[in-house]
Symmetry: C2
Subunit: 360 residues, 2 copies
Amino acid sequence: MTTIEVKTTTADYAVKVKIGSLMTVAQAIKTVWTPRRIALITDTTVGALYADQVQTQLMAGGFTVTVLTVPSGEASKSWAQTMRLVEALSQAHFTRNDGVVALGGGVVGDLAGFVASIYMRGISLIQLPTSLLAQVDSSVGGKTALDLPTGKNLVGSFYQPDLVLIDPQTLTTLPQRMLVEGYGEVVKCAALVGGDFWKLLQSIQQPDDILLLAPQLIARSVSFKARVVMADEKEGGQRQLLNFGHTIGHAVELLGRGRWMHGEAVAMGLVAVCQVFEAQGLTPVGTAQAVAARLAVVGLPTELPDLALNTVLTAMRHDKKVHGDQLTWVYLAALGQPQLQPVPLTDLATWVAPALTTVA
Amino acid sequence: MTTIEVKTTTADYAVKVKIGSLMTVAQAIKTVWTPRRIALITDTTVGALYADQVQTQLMAGGFTVTVLTVPSGEASKSWAQTMRLVEALSQAHFTRNDGVVALGGGVVGDLAGFVASIYMRGISLIQLPTSLLAQVDSSVGGKTALDLPTGKNLVGSFYQPDLVLIDPQTLTTLPQRMLVEGYGEVVKCAALVGGDFWKLLQSIQQPDDILLLAPQLIARSVSFKARVVMADEKEGGQRQLLNFGHTIGHAVELLGRGRWMHGEAVAMGLVAVCQVFEAQGLTPVGTAQAVAARLAVVGLPTELPDLALNTVLTAMRHDKKVHGDQLTWVYLAALGQPQLQPVPLTDLATWVAPALTTVA
């Protein structure tokens, strides 16, 4: 087992990575929680696979469990599901001493985390992420979120869990497309860290290789993310580095209206931002190609779809990373050497164009 | 001007109490905010009185202002208004560097504070409370809230403003019933503090006296609340003292379905809890009468309405103050000497009965 300690101003907690840990989940939870009511929030897909066994273990461990299931998919990060879950907690008389356990991917983690953060102004939360994307990214760092029609994750909170328990074994039941999309975030982390982490990616030549190396990939990604989050809990400074590839990525994801998964959009965004900064002379020529190579071997998209510049710019202006009249980009001065670059909104078209026109 | 400094783990801010301060609001805001977009959130009643002059000043001060108005009344502490306001911020391209200014009473402060806390995971917030209730209570301490059908304030967050600016002059436009209800919370604070604060209340013999003494009453109440909040930001310990009178009060308010204002329900709850603990021999006999006297002179209700015990108990079980199988009450060992008393939910009927039967 790898344990990564995360210390924030509001809470300290552990991220534990261990194969098979979902089979002993009650023991792990009992190390941080006294007996209490638990709302096990999951989705239709993950719930069908794991909810019964998790519920049985928790009940045997002395917890009272209410299973709350939302439809699989990004559409559940909504006001409607939030309201439904909060009402369910209230109807079941949940108090401030009870807790929420999120069992699922990023959608479940973001939604359940948000619900836990606002019900009675916050009740305890534990994350059991089951997708690679959630395991390497969304379950660590305390971000919770809902989507708005105008953009993803525009509503949410910073809310730390008491424990994140990651079982890489759950990846064996993950559809290959989702496994691969999660790897997009792993490539992002490795590009930001460089060194051994980047070298490790060279041994991944097909999707199945991700499964073989999952424990290492997760531990390295989480360690990196934890380090960044501890240095900058609320995205004032260093945490912005995690947005590498996300500026164009989020816009592509939004405009695709469900066509691309988050990790796929990030994959395109990673290559695109390298192209943009290569054109500016700030990223070494060949970086975009090197990043694209790591993504392409597992089948991730590396070229932006044919999108109108105007629609991309409109989507980018809604980005949470917009501060005043600027949008701060993350680029690589070299692999493992990320930098921040604020770009005035008025110049955005000029900057983005190189990434778009290479595709048209 | 009285300035009370509030220091919490997440933020330090000042509460400023000054007659006429709403007339120089932009100057005050410029001491804590750089120029930015401001969403001035208000309600139909307060907005009609003050929104124009606040907006004009803010614009003259270099801010860009969007006025967002919700219907007056508790019903606006809803998901529907939250969604509407959040969408409005997003449509107006508000970024993390922009801010929300809440202009109004407790409903506006709770709702606008919640919106500020969840939009993009939190944007800056300033409170301009205009009701006595908001000035002495809800605008200080960082609590934001929405109501659920099952109870008041069951959804919300802890979120600190950058500034609370209190202008007692606004109380002159407050309907007398609202002025008086706010005084219910002042009596609560004075009973908890005792000493000079309690003595000060003896000079209030009619509603108009509240206006004359408003700056002192507000400053003393806020100082007390700030001290408690600083000692216990999230209601684990000392902050529970602020719930004095609220355990029965909240239930009465909920069951009244709008018949009683918050401060009126608290007034009844203050007297009732003293009766309950006098019956237990834990509060000195005569305390309920002394508290009732201070409330009655301004016309606040001091006797509980005729309510079925069962409905009161059901409402109390939904109280956020329920922890596991207990509900913690606050009682007075003497004026100025509050104590906490956990009561098992199974014993609740026996405890509550004395307050209810004296009325039947």
